[in-house]
Amino acid sequence: MIECKNIVKTYKNDAEEIVVLKNLTFSIEDGEFIAITGPSGSGKSTLMHILGALDTPTSGEYFLDGKNVTDFSDDELANIRNKKIGFVFQSFNLLARSSVLRNVMLPLIYAETPKNEREKKARESLKNAGLDEKHFNNLSNQLSGGQMQRVAIARALVNNPTLILADEPTGNLDTKTGEIVLKTFETLNREQHHTIILITHEKEVAEHADRIIFIRDGIITDDYKTKK
């Protein structure tokens, strides 16, 4: 479960102080499929970084699984990211010239998972992400965009995280492939009850989620369940 209380984030830019997030309060239940959307510059990426433990808020509190992550050290945050959060980025960010399996096993190395379990977990995770088994030993740069994003999803899933954060996962894909990737998220949510947060500026993409939080100028302007 995720709880945000009075989250404020400001950036200092020379003399000016820019307030990006203004006092956000909301919570997300386990197993929800939620989209955070808004125009560019609205602060949704900053919010995603805080939710992903990549950044800490200037003030306010962020509870992840009941733990107050706000005042964690760098190494503790790294640990949280490793164990509880799975990232899917717009530009995939796979290790080039490394095999698909290696890429998926990478978080397990940092989690110090015993060696003999890693490949089994990675294969399982890749199957869940819907990648054909014949690609498992391919190098990551030999895959298509859709396949790369599936590998990235598998990498996000491999540690069985509390939360999957997808930052514009369809941004670099054509509509048809994007649709398949979004379907994968839906399946992961419905069948395996992963909590998924989708960050996007596209309304059609956001509508795949069960709940939409709309942000504009650092304030939540709308928070509603979709009809599904």
């Binding site: 760098d74 990232f87 080039a96 010239r97 990478l106 190395i109 110090e112």
Partner: protein, 406 residues
Amino acid sequence: MKFADLFEEIYSALLSNKARSGLTILGIVIGIGSVIAMIAIGQGSQSSIESSIQSLGSNLLLVTPGVQRGMGVQVSQGRGSSQTLTRDDAEAISSLSSVIAVSPEVSGRYQVTTKGTNTNTTINGVVAVYSTVRNVEVETGNFITDQNVKNMSKVAVIGPSVRDDLFGEDSENANVIGQTIRIKSINFTIVGVTKEKGGSGFNNQDDVIYIPITVSAQYLTGGSYVSTIAVQASNQEAMTTLQAEITNLLLDRHNVATADFSIMNQADIVATASSVTSTFTMLLGSVAGISLVVGGIGIMNMMLTTVTERTREIGLRKAIGAKRKDINLQFLGEAIMLTFTGGVVGIILGCLVSFIAYQFFSLATQVSTFSIILSFGVSGAIGIIFGYYPANRASKLNPIEALRYE
């Protein structure tokens, strides 16, 4: 992160970019290899020149006719230079105190023939004491004796190079003794072969034939002029006094005000030669130093680009749970692996080049531990610092910034 995983991560990161790793290693190999080879050649020639000067004999004063301008090696001995020294001068010098031995010598280059072969070599007219004064040892047979000098026997002692030139590479000393050689249409009987002294080119002390000085004076050079009088002093301390005494004696004997001869002190020769060779070593050293710097800049460049290029990778690794320590250790490990591999190959290459220079170009080489430590240390330090420093900086970046890095 466990050590075995770290090692595997380093290994696969280096292997997944073979060209980049290879070029970095190459830079290190060339930097280290050239320093080791250059210093080896420099130090090798220095010690070979010093030892060949030492082998000329000890506590020597060399009296030569004419006035020498500055120090230098006499290329044309005997011929063309002034003929102001005689065997009588040598006789007079031997009566001075603190003189152990006096060896008048006359030398020139002549064509020497034997059955079917011939060679052009230095013919030294010597006396018996030459062998002790000049440190010449006879391998087989005898050196020129006092008896030979007195009787004007047409006998010759040859150097091993002459033996090889005249009788072939595989000729045996024993078979050579008793053979006849012709110098200026005069037959000489070989009575001895000297031990190999080494040296090469202009400095080959084995490419020489010794004959009695009386015979040389009679048939080859004419007159009792000598080209060198080598005087051996009883000890090092006496040499300066002896030099002055000889100067006075000869000025008196020649009845001249300014010297028509010059005296070289062996210590001076050694000093001159070592100053020449140390300049030479310094020259090679600076060339090597430059290649070390260039190699270092290459490593620096390669490491900096590598890390900059991989900032996004660092961001990703951090996002999926790598701690700062993990990132630092990985990049430090990669830098150590590259410099170590390059260093070992470079040392092998440097030694190999030194060996080839010795084997095929007969350059004396001496691989020194100092050069190995210096070159390995410098390029190792550069590699590690410039591999580690930017990675350390990148590991401090917020993962988001690192991921967005272009």
